[in-house]
Every structure is written in C-alpha cells, then in structure tokens.
C-alpha cells in the first residue's frame, strides 16, 4: 500500500490561470459546515440507506463483468488521451458539430456562460403575459456549477427543473445533496408537503412514491409539450462526429432534448471522447458505477440538428470556468477525467456521515474534495479545507470507473494548502481544524489524526493495527490500518520544505 502520508513533490510550475466561479466555493470551512449536518439524524439515516443500497447494487452488476478492470483501464487511458490533446479534440469537435448545423459558443467562466445562455433564451423564448420567459431544464452539473438558475431568475427567466429530484429541490428552495439522487436527504412526507404547497394543481396527495411521481408527471406535462427552449448538460461529446449524449432515467431528458424548438447545452471542455466507438467503454462504466444498473433507462445522442427530428436550433456552450487551471496541475489534472458517476461518494465514510451540503460545492464527496479546489485554486478562494475531508481510506479510488487516484490528489492538495494558507502564521482554517473534534477527537474513527500521531505511534509501537473496538470494528474487519507514522503530515511537510530551502541555499 502506498504510504499516503508522504506528499508528492509539489509542482514547480505554479499556474496563474484564472480559477472558476459559481457554486464551487465553500461558504464555510468543511469542519465547521459538517458539524451542523452531523447532528441531523434524518440526513444521516437517509444518506446511509441510499449509499449502502446503491453500493451493493453497484457491486453486484460490476461483478457480472469479468472484464471490468480492462474497461476501467480503457476508460482511464481514453480520458488521459483526451486531456493530453485537448486543443485538437476541441477543434475537431467544433468542426463536426458546426458542420451538422449546431452553433458553438465558448465561455471562459460562469459569468460569461450565464450571459450567453441568457441572450440565447431572450432570442428564442417568447415573453409571456407575466412579463417573464420560461425554459425547461434537464438535470445538469455544469449549469448548477455556474449558478444558471439563480442568474436567469434575476434576468426575468424561469428555469423549470424537470428531473424529479431536482424538482423537489427546486420547489423546496433547497440545495442538492448528492449528484445522482439530489433529494435523497428528504423523506416522502416532506416531499408530499412540498408538492401540495408548491404545485397549484396537485390536489390531495398521499405520501406513496408512485402518487408523488404521478403528480410530478401531471405538473410538468404541459410544460414539456409547450415550452420553446430547453437547457441541458451533456455526459459525453464525441470529437470525431460532433455528437452529444445525455444519460437519464425518467424520460424528462428525452422530453427536453426532443420537443422544444431550441436546445442549449452547457458542457465542460473536459467532457470529450475521441471517437463514437469509445462509447462502448463508457456506456458500460457509467450506468454500472452510477445507479448500479446494467444500463440506465434512457440515453439520447444527437449530432447538431437532424432534419425534421427534434430541435432545429441547436447551441452548445463550451465551458472553462477553472478547468484549464485544474489541467495545469500535473498532479491533479486527472480529476478532470471524472464522468460524474457518484460511486466515490457512495463509498466514502466522511460523505456518508456529513452528506453533500457540508462540502459547499456543486461537487460533493471525494471528487468534490479535489475538483472544487482544483477549479478555484486553494489559494485564491476559500476551498482550502476540502482536501482534509477524507480519511484517505482509498475506497473512492477502488470504485472510480476511470481510476482517478483521489487519495493521492488529496494529499497533494493538502500540501498545496499548507504552502499557500498556513505558514508562517496560523490561519482561521487551522483554528477550524483544531476544533474538528467530530472526526479527530474520536480515536476509534480517526486514529491517524495528526495531533495524536506521536503518542499513538508509541501506544501502538509502530505495528499494523488490525482490529479496532466499537463501531470501527466493522471497518477493520475487512482491512488493516497501516502502522501509524511517527510524525504528522504537517511536520513532515515543514521538514521537507526546510530541507528544500537548505539544499537550494547550498547550491
């Protein structure tokens, strides 16, 4: 096993590329934000139930494929290949998409993307009697990242989420807590109340999921059939052919992608795959890792516009918003390989206890803990505490369909954070971390907590720990905790830095 306490050498090249904006910035440091959520029993129960259920479904369908590891290798290699040649693939995609009748827009950041989408809506969606315009939306991480709905609202445009969970979150004036099942923190009674309260036509409802789903169907049906403009994200863009794809379950995606006259898609520049044939790998990796299904109910692909079939006015906004900054980080750039399956959050012990809101970002869980600070930079924005939101157990790496080494990047980013935010004067975050007793004060769960290390090392006489008492026993029954290091990460880091300085001084 890799000794995760050892930092990678920090990158010599410090990128000053602009960071991303929008809903990817912690409002509050993770240790503080998580406090509140930890005491929410319903949240913990719901998330615990959801993650364990999806986890076992995933394990079952993954075990059906005897070439799963080869598929992961292929997925990883394909995404690395895309990142290494991104300008060429983007140009190729642009040419193919445009040749098929689509129109491409480029957005450097969230503000620019929001402005482009607003203008397109104003050009294509009619002004209603209310003095406002309406659009329908497919669930999309990219538009959540840039805060599109909030922006449109202020511009006089109502954006209706059509995914059931997103609808629950939107009507409840809430935030998503999981990227796959965003309303998982709500129970059926709460959803019933939200629907009866916010859907004028809902009538009397029971709390049966089937009844609630039917109410959502009735509520949205008319919108689907009459709205002129739809907004979507994309799971994949194929460079070779200019094809875009959306993977979904409910059919709301098909409705939005097919019925309106105008379709506006917002996609991160990292979402490309070289060839159409690469889908043979990703359409196996994604559904199995994500919902634990062999295939999700619906997948749609479109290439520009198809004569007489679907929207005839097709736009794509290609979004940077910090992705180039992440790409510049040689040790972190593979985070851009993420296909947003959410498998890593379903296995993460920290996510399971805090839920998604504590991360303060569109991207929660292990991937959020690295992606958010990579997009914004640990220095510029307040995302420095996210890389500490992990026990470094490595479970996220094991399940990641594109083999992103999340623990390694976490350690790297902790190093970046220490360098940028913690020396020589102790910062607010240090204080917050000292107060992070929920994790570190509980020796059963976090024996490797930095402060306890020297002492713990003596107590355990440097030997591997293979059994812990109490609630942690289930964890140690399936794995060993490596011997505790003598020194904490911070101490090692400080020493490394001092050595570097000495060496440079001698030269």
């Amino acid at each position: 096993m890799t000794f995760l306490g050892m930092p990678l050498l920090p990158s010599k090249r410090r990128s000053d590329l602009p960071g991303g904006q929008g809903n990817i910035i912690e409002a509050e440091a993770f240790p503080e934000a998580s406090h509140e959520h930890l005491s929410n029993q319903q949240l913990r129960n719901n998330i615990g139930h959801a993650t364990s259920t999806i986890r076992s479904k995933r394990a079952e369908v993954v075990s059906e494929l005897d070439d799963w590891e080869a598929l992961r290798d292929a997925g990883e290699a394909t995404k690395n290949e895309v990142m290494a040649n991104l300008p060429e693939y983007l140009a190729q995609f642009e040419e193919a998409f445009t040749a098929a009748g689509g129109i491409i827009h480029w957005a450097r950041d969230a503000d620019e993307a929001n402005a482009i989408v607003t203008e397109l809506i104003e050009d294509n969606a009619p002004m209603l009697e209310t003095g406002r315009r309406e659009v329908i939306k497919v669930k999309s991480m990219a538009t959540q990242e840039i805060g599109l709905n909030e922006h449109l609202e202020a511009e006089g445009i109502d954006a209706f989420e059509t995914d059931l969970a997103e609808l629950i979150v939107q009507l409840g004036e809430d935030k998503p807590s999981h990227i796959l099942v965003p309303a998982i923190h709500r129970n059926r009674d709460e959803i019933r109340e939200i629907f009866m309260d916010k859907m004028p036509d809902a009538g009397e409802l029971t709390n049966e999921p089937a009844v609630l789903a039917e109410a959502a169907r009735r509520h949205l049906r008319h919108k689907f059939l009459t709205t002129k403009v739809a907004i979507s994200g994309a799971n994949f863009g194929i460079a070779e052919t200019g094809t875009l794809g959306v993977v979904e379950s409910e059919g709301n995606g098909r409705m939005c992608l097919t019925l309106p006259e105008t379709l506006i898609t917002v996609m991160g520049i990292e979402k490309l795959l070289p060839k159409f044939a690469d889908l043979e790998v990703f359409l196996q990796l994604l559904p199995r890792s994500s919902t634990g299904e062999r295939m999700n109910p619906y997948t749609s692909f479109w290439t520009g516009k198809s004569e007489g079939d679907g929207p005839q006015n097709v736009h794509l906004v290609l979004l940077d918003n910090g992705r180039t900054r992440a790409l510049a980080d040689e040790h972190g750039r593979t985070a851009l390989n993420c296909i947003r399956c959410s498998a890593c959050m379903n296995v993460c012990p920290v996510y399971e206890r805090t839920g998604g809101h504590a991360y303060g970002s569109t991207y929660p869980g292990p991937i959020g803990a690295i992606l958010s600070p990579l997009l914004t930079g640990v220095q510029e924005q307040g995302n420095g505490s996210l890389p500490y939101a992990s026990s470094l157990c490595g479970a996220c790496y094991d399940v990641c369909p594109v083999k992103i080494n999340i623990p390694e990047i976490l350690v790297h980013l902790r190093g970046e954070d220490v360098k940028a935010n913690h020396s020589p004067v102790s910062s607010q975050l240090d204080t917050a971390l000292t107060g992070a007793s929920w994790m570190m004060g509980d020796g059963k769960r976090m024996a490797a907590a930095e402060r306890g290390l020297p002492l713990a090392h003596k107590v355990t006489s440097g030997e591997q720990i293979n059994a812990l008492p109490g609630i942690a026993s289930a964890w140690t029954s399936s794995r060993d905790i490596p011997a505790l290091p003598e020194k904490s990460f911070r101490q090692l880091w400080a020493e490394e830095e001092a050595n570097d300085r000495d060496e440079e001084g001698q030269r």
């Binding site: 040649n85 379950s249 070289p274 359409l283």
Partner: protein, 240 residues
Amino acid sequence: MTDTAREEILARISEALGRRGGGEYVSSSPRTAVPGTGGTAHAESGGVASANTAATAADAGYHHEGTHTGESLIELLIDRLVDYKANIHRADGDPSATIAELIGGHSSVVVPRGLDSSWLAGYSGGVRVDAPGEELSVDELDAQGAVVTASAVAIAQTGTIVLDGSDECGRRAITLVPDHHVCIVRTDDIVDIVPEGISRLDAHAPLTFISGPSATSDIELSRVEGVHGPRTLDVIILSS
C-alpha cells in the same frame, strides 16, 4: 466576445499542458500509455489526425464480442428486459396478431412511415402515419393511445433497445409522447454486448437507447416505473 473566448481558452489549455510556442506537446507525466499496446497516445505534432490515429480504447483488453448465440442470446435479452419491467412477447414471421392484441384497447395509434403496414392488419382502430412533411403535432401525438415501431439494434446483456430515427423507428417524438410503446425487435438485430451494439450504429443518426420503461428512484430510493416517458413498454421478439 465569443471568438476571443475561444482563442483564450485554447491558449490556456496549451499553457496548462506545458506546450510552448508552436503547440509542441511536452509531456511531463506520460500516463497516456494504452493498456495492451505498449504505445503512448500523445500526438506527435498536435495534429488532429495524429491524435485520432493514436491508440485509444479500441485496443484495450476488454471484450469486443459476447459469447451468447441463438436461443441463449434471445433468452438473455428477454431475461434482462423482464428485469427492467418491459413486457415480452414472441412472434414467428408475422407479429400482426400479437400487435392487434396489445393495442386493441386504443382507439388510435401512431406509426412511423416505414413500418410494414401488414403488421397492423388485425387492428381496427385509427392509424396515424408520421412522415416527413406530415409530422403529427405534439398535441396530436399526445392524443394517441400507443405507438408501434421497429428497432435498430437490441443489446442482450443490458436489455437495451436502440432506435435510430430510420423510417421504421420514426422521429424521436413519436416514441416519447404516447404512453404505450410497442416495439418490434427482429432476432437478427440482437447482439450480445455493448461494443457489438455500438459498432452497428451510425453516430450521425438521432439515437435513443431504451432499457425498460421510464423509471425513477428519487423518492427514498424506491423505484417507480413511469414518470415522463411511455409507462408501458411491450417488446415483440420477431423470428424470421
């Protein structure tokens, strides 16, 4: 504004990748090696052609063909479709009796232009044909009880049926708005695994992959069939 953004983003990417001057790619972490080939996949001179001829997933060691054939292939597809709550029927040569039975309760159905009209011989209700230049409006589609189409490919391992916008499959809207979809899958169009399915498709066609009817698990993770798409999916496996 947009043009400047394009140039700037492309320049940022080049900088991020450590390329200098004429777009030469300087790889500092050569992790682009493709498993099974021993080759590296970075472009020699940054050209699109070289980027695309570089080995990608297609050379890796996963399965490109399945092992099921004949009746066991059909049985696998049926098993997976049933798992996704689709209703399965089998027909030999002529599916018209099965179709009539399935759609008999609807007063009107829609079919795509290219559907074999003899398949509807046993049905006495109204048949609306959706064709280029004579497309049904969304409201007209909403008034149809069912839609009957053929399919392009069916993938047994995942229980997936693919529609490709051809004359027999129709526009995407016709299989979306009516609440009941009857889909005919010819045994010749059944493949075992996903790579075999993808290789039979044309990327430029509007494609819809369907694995069971619409479903959601968004409320306390309990699965509910039928949210926005057709709530009933009947699949007729047609042997020739």
